[in-house]
Subunit: 352 residues, 2 copies
C-alpha cells in the first residue's frame, strides 16, 4: 500500500477509551496512581486495543540496515564494513538485539534496505528480507542522501515490514537500526526538524573521542548547509536521512494504521518517529518511548515528542535494544489491567 | 538456622569474577559499555553465580505482612484493617504484585508475620505461611515496637523464607511488604540509621495529604525520642521497625548466604536492606536496587547504599511491585552474557 493511503487510515486513539481505562485502573486494589508510569502505559495500551484486557504479545523486532555515504567523512568509531558484518550477525542470532529480543519473547526480522556490501544469508532464512534502495546513501555533507524513487523504495520496505507484522497478529512492534555513521544522519535530521543547533544534537554515537566529535559536528553543519532547501519532513528525510531511517518511518506509519503499539528505541529510531509524527500526528498515540539514550539529540527528540521514556539505563547501541528491554514493562502494564481484583470484588477498604 | 550462623556464611562476591565477566562482556559484538547499566547488572550476576552464563530463574517474590501499632496515630490514608484484607487478596491472586509477578514469571509466597487480624486462607493453599511474631507491633511513638523474642521470631520467619527459596533452586529473590503505617516505621528506621532528619525521610506513603504528612513527621520525631537509646542496627529494628521489616532482613541475609541475587523494592524493603547491610556489608554484593520510589527517604537509603536503581517509574506501592518489574531486566542481562557472539567469533571488526 502507498504511504498516502496508509496515512489516511491512521486514526487517533479515542480519549474516551483512555478515561475508561484509567477509571478501571483506579478501581483496582492499590492506592490511586501508586503504580505511576505503569498506569499511563496500561491506559494507553487499553485505548490502542480498545479493551480493558489488552494483549501485549505477540511482539516483533524489525531491524533495518543500510550504509551511509557520510561514513567517508570519518565520523564513526567503526569502519563502514561493520554494517554488513552486523547484518550477518543478526541473521545468525549473535547480536545484542537477538539476545534481548529472546529475553523479551520477541521474534527478530532483518531488512537490508541498502547495505553497501550485498548480504547473502544462509538459504532458508525466512526472517531476512532484501529490499535494497541502493548500495548506501550518498554523502549528506555535499548533497541529498537519496533520490525521490530511493526514498519511496525505503519507505515501502518499512510499510511492508509493518504490514507483515500486523498480518501475523503482532501486537507490539519495535524497529531498530544498523548503519555505521547513522547517528550523523540522525543528528542532521533532528537539527533540521527541530531547529536546534547541530552542536546540541550531535553526540558521541557508539563512542567517538573529542576530536572526532568536533569533526562530526562540522559534518552535520555542512550537511545542513548543503541541504538548506529541505524543510518539509519528507524532504528532510530524503536529503539528510538514511534508508533505514526512511524504512522505520514507513514501518511506524503502517503499524499505527493497524493499531499496533510501537515501542520506540534510541536516537536513530526516534529521528524516524519525529518524521512519522510530523507526517501524521496521530502516530504519536501508538508510540511509546522505550528508553532514554545518552545521545544529547535524543533528549531534544523526546522533548519535541513530549515523551517520558520507560527506561534510562545509559544504553547507546541502537538495534532496538532499548525497545526490546522496555517490552516486558508493557507486559506488566497489561497484566495489571487484566489480572488485578477491584476494591469491590476483593472486599478491600478504600482510602479514608 | 540462627541469624549469627547465617551471617557467618555470607561471602563477598569475588572482584576477580566481576573483572572476568566485564572482560567477557567487552568481547561481545557491541561497542564497549554501550549497554550501560545492563552490563553492570550482568557482570554482577555472573560474579554472584560465578559463571559467564548466569541463570536468572527460577525467581520468587515473598511478601511479608504485619500490622503496626503506630497506625493508631492516624498516619496512613488507609484503615489498619486493609493489611488483613490485602493478605487475603494476595492469597487469591488479585493484588498488583500477583499480576506483576505473573508477568515476570515469578511465584508468590505470602508470610503472615504479625497481622492484627489472623489470616485464614483457603485450605490447601501452600504458598501462605503463618509465622506470627505477634498481633501487630506496639506503637513506636511511645516505646519499642517489639520485644527481643518477637524480633528473633520475625527474623527467623524471613530466614526460613529465604532458605526455602534457595532450597527450591530460586536464583532471583524479591521481598515485598504489606502493613498499613509501615512507611512511618521505615522513616523512623531510616532516620535512626542514617542520621538524616525525620522531616527529610518522611513522605506521603500511599498518599496522605499535607496535614497528615505534618502529623506523620511529628510521630516519627516522637518515635525517635521515645527510642533514643536504639543505636545498633538490631536495636533500631526492634524499637522502630516492624515484623515485616525484620522478616525481610532475615530473608535478605539467608538469600545472600546462599548466593541468590536479591532485587530490592521500595522504601520499606530498602529500610530492611540498610539493616542487613549494616549487619553484614557483603549482603550489598547480592542486592540490586529494583526501582526508585518517590518517597524522599528512599533517595536517602539508595545514596547510603550507593545504589543506582534499575527503574524509575514513580511507583509507590510496595508489595515488591518495583522489584518484580525489574526482574526481566536481569533476564535480559543474563541473556546478553549468555547468548551474544564475540567479535572474534562473528568476524566483526573492532573499533578503529
Amino acid at each position: 500500500m502507498r504511504m498516502d493511503s496508509i496515512v489516511e487510515r491512521i486514526q487517533p486513539v479515542d480519549r474516551a477509551w483512555i478515561e475508561r481505562a484509567q477509571a478501571h485502573i483506579d478501581s483496582l486494589t492499590k492506592p490511586v496512581a501508586s503504580l505511576g508510569l505503569l498506569e499511563t502505559l496500561a491506559a494507553r495500551l487499553c485505548a490502542i486495543q480498545e479493551t480493558l484486557m489488552p494483549r501485549p504479545e505477540p511482539r516483533r523486532v524489525v531491524i533495518f540496515a543500510a550504509d551511509h555515504g557520510v561514513a567517508t567523512e570519518n565520523v564513526s568509531a567503526y569502519p563502514a564494513a561493520v554494517t554488513a558484518q552486523m547484518v550477518a550477525n543478526f541473521v545468525r542470532g549473535g547480536a545484542a538485539i537477538n539476545a534481548l529480543a529472546y529475553a523479551a519473547g520477541a521474534d527478530v526480522w532483518v531488512y537490508d534496505v541498502g547495505v553497501a556490501e550485498r548480504c547473502s544469508p544462509a538459504e532458508g532464512c525466512t526472517t531476512f528480507v532484501s529490499r535494497r534502495a541502493g548500495a548506501g546513501t550518498r554523502n549528506i555533507a555535499s548533497g541529498p542522501a537519496m533520490t525521490k524513487p530511493q526514498l519511496d523504495l525505503a519507505i515501502a520496505a518499512g510499510i511492508e515490514a509493518g504490514t507483515r507484522a500486523a498480518d501475523a497478529g503482532v501486537k507490539v512492534l519495535a524497529c531498530g537500526d544498523m548503519g555505521i555513521a547513522n547517528t550523523t544522519a540522525a543528528s542532521a535530521v533532528t537539527a533540521a526538524l527541530t531547529g536546534v543547533s547541530a552542536r546540541c544534537v550531535t553526540g558521541r554515537g557508539t563512542g567517538v573521542d573529542d576530536a572526532r566529535l568536533e569533526r562530526k559536528i562540522e559534518v552535520v553543519q555542512a550537511a545542513l548547509r548543503a541541504n538548506a532547501d529541505a524543510r518539509e519532513p519528507l524532504d528532510v528525510l530524503r536529503c539528510l536521512g538514511g534508508f533505514e531511517i526512511a524504512a522505520i518511518v514507513g514501518a511506524y506509519l503502517a503499524a499505527a494504521s493497524r493499531r499496533l503499539a510501537i515501542v520506540g528505541d534510541g536516537f536513530i529510531a526516534t529521528a524516524a518517529a519525529l518524521i512519522a509524527v510530523q507526517l501524521c500526528p496521530a502516530v504519536r498515540d501508538y508510540w511509546f518511548a522505550g528508553h532514554r539514550s545518552p545521545e544529547p539529540g535524543h533528549a531534544v527528540q523526546l522533548a519535541w515528542l513530549n515523551a517520558t521514556p520507560i527506561l534510562d539505563l545509559q544504553m547507546r547501541l541502537g538495534e532496538a535494544t532499548g525497545a526490546a528491554l522496555a517490552m516486558p514493562l508493557l507486559t506488566a502494564a497489561a497484566a495489571m489491567s487484566t489480572r488485578m481484583a477491584t476494591f469491590a470484588g476483593a472486599g478491600v477498604s478504600r482510602q479514608v
